[in-house]
């Protein structure tokens, strides 16, 4: 069985979702790559930011 920690699960999720978003939402390979990378950074970046926000809210 596979038991990743929360952050590893987020990175895996972001990686797979970004690949699909990049390929399906853009027309040319360079644009696909850029959009995929953008989605990945937004996915992981939002998790990091929201985690800190929750830490401060929770004390």
């Amino acid at each position: 069985m596979f038991h990743p920690d929360h952050f590893s699960a987020v990175v895996l999720f972001a990686l797979f979702a970004s690949v699909v978003f990049g390929i399906t939402q853009r027309e040319t390979p360079p644009k696909m790559f850029r959009y995929g990378a953008y989605c990945f950074v937004i996915f992981v970046g939002s998790v990091i930011v929201l985690s800190w926000v929750m830490k401060f809210i929770g004390g």
């Binding site: 069985m1 038991h3 929360h6 999720f13 797979f16 690949v19």
Partner: protein, 132 residues
């Protein structure tokens, strides 16, 4: 007057919904039918990877719809096409979520199905000439 792309699509012939249905049943198959090998392979690896990791994390496969959330989960799982039916037939996946990662796994399986539907629709758009 038809644009070159639409002309090309009209000339392709065959059942227009084949890439959509094939793409839903087998991840990436819709793109393979349209000879988009690289895109198809990446989509197949992503959907298969997410589904397998979901199962490995002891995620739950929705079997019935008892409330609205179960219904949405089942709809997402069905997006995996044959993978879902094979996994159900093989008795894979957990019946009940007992560990934290099982909850993540359940979401991975649902999202893999949703991503597979997006991929199948993309194959359909390529087939109809809406996308190049």
């Amino acid at each position: 007057m038809a644009t070159p792309q639409i002309k090309k699509t009209e000339q392709a012939g065959g059942f227009i919904y084949l890439p959509l249905i094939a793409g839903w049943l087998v991840p990436g198959a819709g793109h393979f039918l349209l000879r988009k090998w690289g895109r198809g392979a990446l989509l197949a690896v992503s959907v298969l990877g997410m589904f397998s990791i979901g199962l490995a994390m002891q995620g739950k496969l929705y079997a019935g719809a008892h409330d609205i959330l179960d219904m949405l989960g089942l709809a997402g799982d069905l997006g995996n096409g044959l993978l879902y039916f094979i996994a159900r037939a093989g008795g894979w996946g957990a019946d009940q979520v007992t560990v934290t990662t099982g909850d993540y796994g359940t979401r991975f399986i649902v999202v893999a199905g949703l991503l597979n539907v997006i991929s199948a629709v993309d194959a359909h758009n390529l087939r109809t000439g809406r996308k190049s």
